[in-house]
Symmetry: C2
Subunit: 112 residues, 2 copies
Amino acid sequence: MAQSNPPFMSGVPELLLLRLLDQSEMYGYELVRSIKTATGEAISLGEGVIYPVLHSLERNGALKSRRKAVGGRTRVYYSLTAKGRQRLDKLRNEWHRVQGGVASALAAGGHA
Amino acid sequence: MAQSNPPFMSGVPELLLLRLLDQSEMYGYELVRSIKTATGEAISLGEGVIYPVLHSLERNGALKSRRKAVGGRTRVYYSLTAKGRQRLDKLRNEWHRVQGGVASALAAGGHA
DNA sequence: GCAGGATACCTCGAACTAAAAGGTATTACA
DNA sequence: TGTAATACCTTTTAGTTCGAGGTATCCTGC
C-alpha cells in the first residue's frame, strides 16, 4: 500500500510563507523577495515554489485572498485564516523539534 | 536544460550520518538506532534511507568500509575519510546557514 | 514609438529525496 | 519449531522543489 508520510523535513517553504503572511498581507511576487530578505539571503525560493504553495494553502482554507488593482496591474493579496494560524503553530513546533534534534546530534560529545 | 540544484534543505540525513561516523565507526543497522537516540527521538530514518546514502557516500570516497564478522553475522563498519570530513564541514555550514535563516524569519518582529 | 527591463500572474516537466515495503540470511530464545 | 531480533540490501512509490517557459502590463530611455 505504500502509504508514505511526507519527508521529515519538508514544509519549510510553507512555514516561511505562513509566518510572513501572519505579519502582514502580501502578494506572491512580493513574498518571493521577502523570503530572501527575511532569511538574510540564506533561503531563496522561486515563483515556481511560491505560487503552487499559495494555491494549495488557499484550497485548504489556510489562506484567503483578495485581488487589488494597483497601477493597472492586478495583485493577489493573501492573508491568514484561523486555520492558517493553527497550521503555522503546528509547523513551527515541527520545525523546532527537528531543529533541536539536529542540534543535539551535532553537539553530542563536543567534537573529537 | 532543466539542470536542477538539490532542494535547499536536503542532505540532513547525510549530515547526521557523517556526524555520527565522525565520532566512531559504526555499521548501518546501528546507525538507524543511533540517529533516533542522538536526535532525542526527533528524527527517525529507516533502513531504506540509511543504506543508499551509505553506499553513495562510499562511492564518492567520503566513507570507507570494512567487514567484520561478529557472532556469525557480518557487519559492515563505516568510517570517515579526509574527504568525508570536508563534506561534513560543508554540510554543517550549510545547515547553520539555513537554520539561521529560518530563525531570523521566525523571530522577526516578535509575534503580533 | 519602441525596445528592454521590471512587475505580476501562472503552469508544466524534470529532477531529486525520502518513505515504505519487501527480500535474504543468521542467531537467540521460548 | 517458530518467532523475534539482528544485519544486509533493493525496488517501488510518493512527494517536494527546481527551473524554465508563458502571458500581460507598466515604465524608462533612446
